[in-house]
């Protein structure tokens, strides 16, 4: 569904992505793991249209999207839940969710998805009038996921959704990702928490200083000695 081919990203003089190529097939969970500074966020941000200084191809459902604005990319069906959640602390939970649906015109569909998101995350419904900033870290992550789902995008990109959460919540987040996938969404997942990510991923890529160094199924990479040494703590 998404093909990234020979993607290069530059920050001033820094060559952050060096010819990255990945494939995200429809209906799958694909994960991208790698150390700090490897270029995982840069990859997602480039796909989302936030990085202008880039070269290469990004094709979604067969058409080139690398020149589109972030707004058009959301409209074409790709949404990103950015690193650090980035919910709007001064807006109510409901407004945060509505913002996720900002690019949509189908009012009835938005209301339907709002109900659906509340079913997935009942805690958000209980707190819908509360300011986003007053939620706990775990609840904020649920809000960030719910907000992404509100866009009705088919491809959901998640940048370190388990960051800073207690182990129990981390498990919950990964369960939710599996649920979202089971409901038909394609997921591109960036994680530091390599083991958990590889366990739920159909396909996985290992990124090192801007380039893919290993690829395979989640199971294959869990078994791979290089991955075990570098990312799974031996």
């Amino acid at each position: 569904m998404l093909e990234v081919q020979d993607l290069n990203v530059f920050y001033g003089g820094i060559h952050a992505l060096k010819g990255l190529t990945i494939q995200v097939p429809q209906g799958r969970v694909v994960t991208l793991i790698g150390a700090n500074g490897a270029g995982k966020s840069s990859t997602l941000r480039a796909i989302a249209g936030l990085i202008r200084n880039k070269k290469g191809h990004i094709r979604y459902r067969g058409s080139e999207i690398s020149g589109l604005s972030p707004v058009d990319i959301v409209k074409s069906g790709i949404v990103m839940a950015p690193e650090g959640r980035k919910i709007f602390p001064h807006l109510s939970v409901l407004d945060n969710l509505r913002l996720g649906a900002y690019a949509r015109k189908d009012k009835a569909g938005v209301e339907k998805d709002l109900k659906w998101v509340y079913e997935l995350f009942p805690r958000l419904e209980d707190r819908k009038d509360q300011k986003g900033g007053t939620l706990s870290g775990g609840e904020q992550q649920m809000l960030a996921l719910g907000r992404a789902l509100m866009s009705a995008a088919d491809l959901i990109m998640l940048d370190e959704p388990s960051l800073g959460l207690a182990p129990k919540l981390v498990r919950e987040v990964f369960e939710i990702i599996a649920t979202i996938n089971a409901l038909g969404k394609t997921v591109l997942l960036v994680e530091q928490n390599a083991f958990a990510a590889l366990k739920i991923a159909h396909h996985a890529y290992v990124l090192e200083v801007g380039a893919i160094v290993l690829a395979g199924s989640g199971e294959e990479l869990i078994a791979d000695s290089r991955v075990r040494d570098a990312y799974l703590g031996g």
């Binding site: 972030p70 980035k86 709007f88 900002y102």
Partner: protein, 297 residues
């Protein structure tokens, strides 16, 4: 001072305060989103008044029609200023946009001199607004009812847009985090244009009503009210719309009351704004209703 006098001065203060508040809203909205002090805002205020003059003398529009047209046209000028002078500098250091704002301010002032001349011009105003009515003991100028009422209605409209519409949600979002709003699908440039449009329309309304009270139009007429409104916005807490309203009203009130109670101080009238500014910066640097705004890089 008698109660009747006090009420009269109160209405005057409220009138002046609403005029400041309407200008201050534009400063605060633009600052809230772009962290830019739009120095050209004073000239937008002035243009509103001049466009009424144009409408009534050149196109022979009835004054109330000319007012509405002037508000719309000035909103357009505000949007254009952003397009031409600020948008190309969006990714540049903030000081560049600030310098550009100062440039636009001079440009608009001089353009007005070229288009309308530097000689003060008299603008038409309906006589009934200036004819005092006697309400019991109190002599009330209809203008001092008309201006606060209309201002209040405009502010209600603003609240509706900001808190009840989708575009308003977009505004509240981008004032906090432009990038995340962008990836949520908010057309950031369109919302910024809308913000300039609304802020300019309110400043134009203020300029027009200002001219009803002080009917001499001059190309520099925006400088002092604009500057005071900016102080009002800082006083109320820059970035906060309620803060701009409260700041504007307090400033207008203080100015009128101080002169009423201490006529000897009349000559220092323009200095009160600075006293208020210094006081608030000492006591609460973020202003009355201001939250801490993170700097945007």
């Amino acid at each position: 001072m008698s109660l009747a006098m006090f009420l009269q001065h109160g209405l005057n203060g409220l009138t002046l305060g609403s005029l400041y508040a309407l200008i201050a809203i534009g400063y605060t909205m633009v600052y809230g989103i772009l962290r830019l002090i739009n120095f050209a805002h004073s000239e937008i205020f002035m243009l509103g008044a001049y466009f009424v003059l144009w409408g009534t003398t050149l196109f022979f529009l009835p004054w109330y029609v000319a007012m509405v047209v002037a508000v719309v046209v000035t909103a357009g000028v505000g949007i254009l200023v952003d397009r031409v002078a600020y948008r190309p500098l969006r990714d540049a250091p903030r000081i560049s946009a600030l310098i550009s704002a100062i440039g636009v301010s001079f440009f608009l002032q001089n353009l007005t001199i070229v288009a309308f001349g530097a000689i003060p011009r008299e603008v038409y105003r309906p006589l009934w607004l200036e004819t005092p009515m006697l309400m019991g003991e109190v002599r009330v100028l209809p203008l001092t009812i008309f201006v606060p009422t209309l201002s209040f209605l405009l502010m209600l409209g603003l609240v509706w847009v900001v808190y009840r519409t989708k575009a308003g949600l977009g505004m509240r979002a981008i004032s906090k985090d432009i990038e995340t709003s962008y990836i949520m699908g908010v057309s950031v440039n369109r919302i910024i244009s809308l913000t300039f449009g609304i802020g300019s329309a309110l400043a134009a309304a203020s300029g027009i009503m200002w001219a009803l009270r002080y009917p001499q139009l001059q190309p520099v007429m925006g400088s002092i009210p604009g500057f005071k409104a900016f102080i009002a916005a800082v006083f109320g807490g820059i970035g906060s719309i309620p803060g701009a309203v409260v700041g504007g009203v307090i400033l207008g009130f203080t100015e009128i009351m101080a002169v009423a109670f201490f006529p000897d101080l009349a000559g220092y009238r323009d200095a009160f704004a600075f006293v208020l500014l210094i006081a608030i910066l000492l006591i609460k640097p973020t202003g009355l209703m201001g939250a801490k705004l993170e700097d945007k890089v």
